[in-house]
């Protein structure tokens, strides 16, 4: 007898048929691969080497020209992949667990715990996001670790809200009652029974969070509280403010903007496709009303 497909399998098959989503996924995978190769030193990029004159125009030898110190811009853009991916990844790694745990506790237990957690996140969401982010990056000191922490601490609210909402919805379901009756403890119900149902939504939100972290890095770098001494896309884009005027040096700006555009676009398209294939609203809509 053939086993019928689960909803997740169905959704994944659907996702696999979506060509655009698969191309996006390949791009994301390629960026991750580049980041990993640089991180593990398997790909050793000479980001500090002088290869030519200051501000050489793009040519076949240096397809994105050189920067103020005569360093190859293309190599620095590629190195930026690692910085951006690590910012996206570590921010997500900090924010998502906080969001999941707080959201799950609030939604599952309700009552005082819920009130307390809702209080925390409504406090965070009423503070203007960019101001809090900049302030936090400032007081933590310049550098990439501050960026990780500032972004991580400010971006869990969205996930927490979503997870809480889902847990409130699921805690009344029959399968949860059944698990209670079988003697499962609250932690087991939260993590083994309910959480898997919320995972697709968490993935979607995590990928949006990843994107907003990459975008926020640019702003932090421009304000001067971002990554220091390393070629991040944010630094390269903010340098353009000085390079364009008078000199017309556009290649650092163009290279970093395009590299960022491609990965952010891929994430946007992929998370959209993920939502379309997992969102039960699209198929259940008529039933509910």
């Amino acid at each position: 007898m053939r086993k019928s497909k689960s909803l997740t399998q169905k959704a994944l098959t659907e996702l696999g048929r979506d060509k655009l989503a698969m191309i996006s996924f390949a791009i994301i995978a390629a960026y991750i691969l580049i980041a990993l190769l640089i991180q593990t030193n398997l790909l050793n990029l000479p980001i500090h080497d002088t290869v030519g004159e200051s501000y050489e125009k793009p040519s076949w030898a240096h397809i994105l020209g050189t920067d103020i110190f005569g360093r190859d811009v293309f190599i620095r853009v590629i190195y930026g992949v690692k910085i951006s991916m690590s910012i996206g990844f570590i921010t997500t790694l900090i924010a998502v667990p906080i969001g999941i745990v707080l959201g799950a506790l609030a939604g599952f237990f309700g009552g005082r715990i819920d009130d307390f957690i809702v209080w925390i996140y409504s406090t965070f969401s009423s503070i203007p996001y960019l101001l809090l982010l900049l302030a936090l990056a400032l007081v933590l000191g310049k550098g990439i670790f501050s960026v990780y922490i500032a972004l991580g601490v400010t971006s869990w609210v969205g996930i927490c809200r979503v997870v809480r909402g889902e847990f409130i919805k699921y805690r009344e379901r029959d399968y949860v009652t059944a698990a209670h009756a079988l003697g499962a403890g609250p932690l087991r119900i939260i993590f083994r029974h309910i959480l898997p149902n919320v995972l697709p939504l968490i993935f979607i939100n995590a990928s949006l969070l990843f994107v907003s972290a990459i975008k926020a890095e640019v702003i932090l770098s421009y304000i001067g509280v971002g990554v220091q001494g390393k070629p991040s896309w944010g630094n390269m884009i903010s340098d353009a403010k000085l390079e364009l005027v008078g000199r017309g040096v556009y290649w650092q700006f163009l290279g970093a903007t395009c590299a960022m555009f491609i990965i952010v676009l891929a994430f946007n398209i992929f998370s959209d496709a993920l939502r379309d294939s997992f969102d039960p609203r699209i198929s259940n809509k008529t039933k509910e009303r």
Binding site: P128, L131, A135, K215, L244, F253, I269
Partner: protein
């Protein structure tokens, strides 16, 4: 109704209290001591101690916190570390320029977003719909900073279509606001259109739309009379939530176009570790947000009596 309003206001107090806690922890506990940066490298211990006493940073944390609470409740935020001006005065002066950029840009941006999403709903599945989706996703994928830098360089510096930067009060200031306003609209349009489109398409699949068509109503009548009205609820919610944040304007746009509003003020404050200024701007921002939420909820309660019972 009155009891609902009172209840909502009382509910807001813990949130505002939380905001004071967060800002206090960020600046006074984690941020600690900006004195070293303020006095410069050559300063002796005596100067440092004197400055610390002057700023009240030598007192225990709980006293500093009560002092901060007192400042907030009296709306007297003290003086800026950097410029020595009164912060309440600075905020009063900065609000005008910020709003002169933010309000028109927000207004036109939202209207444009709604119009585009209505057209998309009209032509859903057709080329125009797909093109809009592609463009808005692509538009969202470019860094805000890239828009600003490219816009300022190509449209103002190279082509001279707009003044490069500056601000003036009254109507003479309008030319300065066009380009930053335009960039604001372009930056926000992508995500706005995507959101509005989803809302419109959600509505279009509802039963009442089918009923309206079945009654023999025309396409436009259904769209404008029925769909738009229902879609306005989520759209207005999204817009109202954004309004309180308008008061800081756009930090980056104001900074690039030298608009002397709260946005550039915040950036300057961050660059000079001017903690009291950032604290004050942050707190007022949060206050407006919470206030805005209460107003929204009251509007809902007026429109829908069921809300009051919750």
């Amino acid at each position: 109704m009155l009891s609902y309003i009172i209840r909502r206001i009382i509910q807001a107090i813990p949130t505002l209290f939380g905001v004071t806690l967060v800002t206090f922890i960020v600046f006074n506990v984690v941020g600690g001591d900006p004195v070293y940066q303020m006095v410069g490298k050559g300063a002796g211990q005596k100067e440092i101690d004197a400055l610390r006493r002057e700023l009240g940073l030598d007192r225990p944390l709980y006293q500093q916190y009560f002092f901060y609470l007192k400042q907030i409740t009296t709306f007297d935020f003290g003086r800026s570390y950097a410029t020595k001006q009164k912060i309440s005065q600075m905020i009063k002066e900065g609000m005008g320029p910020s709003l002169s950029l933010a309000v028109p840009a927000f207004f036109f941006g939202s209207i444009l977003g709604i119009i585009i999403s209505l057209l998309v709903a009209l032509y859903r599945g057709k080329l125009f719909d797909r093109l809009t989706v592609v463009l808005s996703v692509a538009g969202m994928s470019v860094s805000v900073l890239a828009y600003i830098i490219a816009g300022q360089y190509y449209l103002a510096y190279m082509s001279g279509l707009f003044p490069i930067s500056g601000w003036e009060p009254g109507l003479r200031g309008v030319p300065f606001l066009v380009l930053p306003g335009l960039i604001w609209v372009i930056v926000s349009l992508g995500s706005d259109v995507r959101f509005f489109r989803t809302v419109m398409l959600d509505e279009i699949n509802q039963d009442y739309v089918r009923t309206a068509y079945a009654k023999g109503l025309g396409k436009y009548r259904v769209l404008f009379r029925h769909v738009l009205k229902n879609a306005m609820i989520p759209i207005i919610t999204r817009l109202v939530i954004a309004i309180p944040f308008l008061y800081t304007g756009s930090l980056l746009l104001e900074n690039f176009f030298s608009i002397p509003g709260l946005g550039s003020m915040s950036i300057n404050a961050i660059n000079s570790s001017d903690f009291p200024v950032i604290k004050a701007i942050t707190f007022i921002g949060a206050l407006l947000y919470v206030g805005g939420n209460i107003v929204t909820d009251i509007c809902y309660a007026l429109a829908d009596p069921r809300v009051r019972l919750k």
